[in-house]
Symmetry: C2
Subunit: 395 residues, 2 copies
């Protein structure tokens, strides 16, 4: 059996096999990447859902348009305008989750062999979608101010790149927020070296510290930036609602690609979201989420300050749901995870966020949105012991 | 701006521009491809939806697994077993509508330049997905017994093909059902000439005449057949629920491709469907749809017998929602549509169902599931006049 070349480069199973262990009810998992179900506005959504199906079944249960349910698309436009992300000659496309926004952008722009710069570390879903289109990936390290633009320019001087893929705010997996100077520099470089930027921004509204930072898209006057948003982290992940904002010519290609992928996003969940935003304040809902995640992040950081060895360097996110911990080079966090899982604590080893997934990686990602408050301290304490007892010779 | 090569071959807009005219409330549209909203079990689905979100929000609104919501996947397995479609070492993958089942199959199997045989005419969504992967398409005409296997073998003798894409029952757009001899012959040819078959079967339960025909998949002992099913025509199109049945190695690749496309299908609609099938009989629901569409099909055929000129040759489907009408070669149904739309009647011109969309086509597709009963006779009468008044010199 000969499969398509594009699938041979995808190691989907490495992660999924690991995640199967998370079914163990005793496991304290910092490996998740989901919003807290405590924040789902389920009573409101249940009522809205019933009303919509009962009163408007001919729309809710019927085929819809590829571009998205019009009232929801308009609400997203309004929200994007508020943040300066909806430029003239740009428009919104509703997608089946943020992942599809990335996938459709790559599908529309990339030919096999096109060079794409990605952050190192980066989001596995973005990396795998890029791999599936045969993109040639070059990694640029993420510093505490965001991706290293000096190193980026070194690459640009010798290599023609088509696209830069960046998660600008509360990056997955690092939790780092790119500073303003870096954002501006990326846009300058995009103009100078003629490449496009996919700004993936699913977490940015979950800020619990510091000041809101303008997106790169909001400073983009030439349509070089494609913006990807998501309701997964601020409303519901299972409803699969995301969007892209792109220059009309790019968006039109993304619409065509979406038509062959899934025709359109589930109408019912689009209508439920639109009506929820009509009746309730998304901003108030997000405010709750900010406080909730901010508290959990503090709990985790306090426990890490208390229990983790000094050689563990970790980020202190101002929002989002992840932080990143770098250990000395002699650690292989794939092996560390095997030990940690025996002690009933799980995390995401850094190799899954790398371009080269076969190289040993001393870093790992922790999630604080899902574990219960009391499990955060317990889990961090256990994990600290696993780290301290790690022996590169024996493990 | 340089887009991906794969999108340059897609003329998505030709159809969509046309469909925008269908918003005119006076238009009698035979151009649709959707189930009748009169058949949506909206009261039941509304109640179920509310219960699920209220009682189980942590599942319904949270990320789910790529393979599909387990209880729904199991119900699909059962249904597939009933029709002999679930072979050993095969499994079900829940998809975001039937379109995604096609797309994931093509994405997993096809490299650019791989040769795929398709029916002529065929479903534009399938053709466009194939185009997006750079497949080289060869068309084989559909006879009244289904695709012409003699012509297929002629092709196979001189060309190595990777896949055959076929809609075996109540084909879109022709309404034709492949006979048993043709089904068996295709399987023999697949063994002899070593190719795979994608059997797209979204309409087969909507039979209102004749006897149920075994699928090609049900006769497949080597896993050469990938089966695509859909709830769009028998439950709800807007819920975006379909599935594939494939040999485990192929299904595993499709799962990986789905993960990068949209992570997973909307959990809420999967749960609603699963609970609907728990509480109510899908078979009874489908029985209603059969009677409903059978009556509409008869109405349309009677009107066509009464009004259409003798030189119009049309199919007499035993199920599904489409029929196909062939006019003499001097007709160009793209031009015919422009005239017909002025008289407020719409249909799908045959060029959209062809490999070469630029060639004039004398055929067209009619849908009978959506127009109201009284509009069927009126619309057919008007369309008959448009056909009779068509002048290839002037039009």
């Amino acid at each position: 059996m000969e499969f398509a070349k594009r699938v041979s480069s995808l190691q989907g199973s490495a992660i999924r096999e690991m995640f199967k262990l998370l079914g163990d009810p005793e496991m304290i998992s910092f490996a998740g990447g989901a919003p807290s179900p405590e924040l789902f506005p389920s009573v409101e959504l249940a009522e809205i859902s019933e009303e919509i199906i009962k009163n408007n079944p001919a729309v809710a249960l019927q085929y819809g348009v590829t571009e998205g349910y019009a009232p929801l698309a308009e609400q997203i436009r309004e929200r994007m305008r508020k943040f300066g992300n909806l430029k003239p000659d740009n428009d919104v496309l509703v997608t089946s989750g943020g992942q599809q926004a990335l996938d459709l952008c790559f599908k529309s722009l990339l030919n096999e062999g096109d060079v794409v710069v990605v952050e190192q570390p980066s989001f596995i879903g973005g990396l795998n979608s890029l791999r599936s289109y045969g993109a040639k990936l070059i990694g640029v390290p993420v510093k505490d101010t965001g991706l290293d633009t000096d190193m980026l320019e070194d690459i640009l001087k010798r290599t023609k790149i088509k696209l830069l893929y960046t998660i600008t705010t509360f990056q997955n997996p690092s939790g780092i927020t790119m500073d303003m100077a870096t954002r501006k520099r990326i846009l300058e470089l995009a103009e100078k070296y003629d490449f496009y930027v996919l700004e993936d921004n699913p977490y940015f509204e979950l800020r619990f510290k510091g000041e809101t930072m303008p997106s790169i898209k909001s400073m983009d006057d030439t349509g070089r930036v494609i913006y990807a948003g998501s309701f997964s982290k601020v409303l519901s992940a299972g409803m699969r609602l995301g969007w892209a904002v792109a220059r009309n010519d790019i968006r039109e290609k993304m619409v065509i690609c979406k038509q062959v992928s899934d025709v359109h996003t589930t109408v019912l969940t689009q209508m439920i979201a639109a009506e929820f935003f009509n009746r309730y304040s998304l901003d108030e809902h997000i405010e709750k989420a900010r406080n909730f995640y901010g508290k959990k992040c503090s709990l985790m950081l306090s426990a890490m300050d208390k229990y983790f060895p000094d050689y563990a360097n970790f980020t202190r996110p101002e929002g989002g749901i992840f932080l990143w911990c770098a250990l000395p080079e002699y650690f292989d966090t794939k092996k560390l995870l095997a030990k940690s899982i025996k002690e009933k604590v799980a995390f995401v080893p850094g190799f899954t966020c790398a371009i080269d997934m076969d190289a040993p990686c001393p870093d790992f990602r922790l999630n604080y949105s899902l574990p219960a408050d009391d499990k955060i301290e317990t889990g961090i304490r256990i994990l600290a012991d696993v780290i301290k007892n790690y022996d590169p010779e024996k493990d």
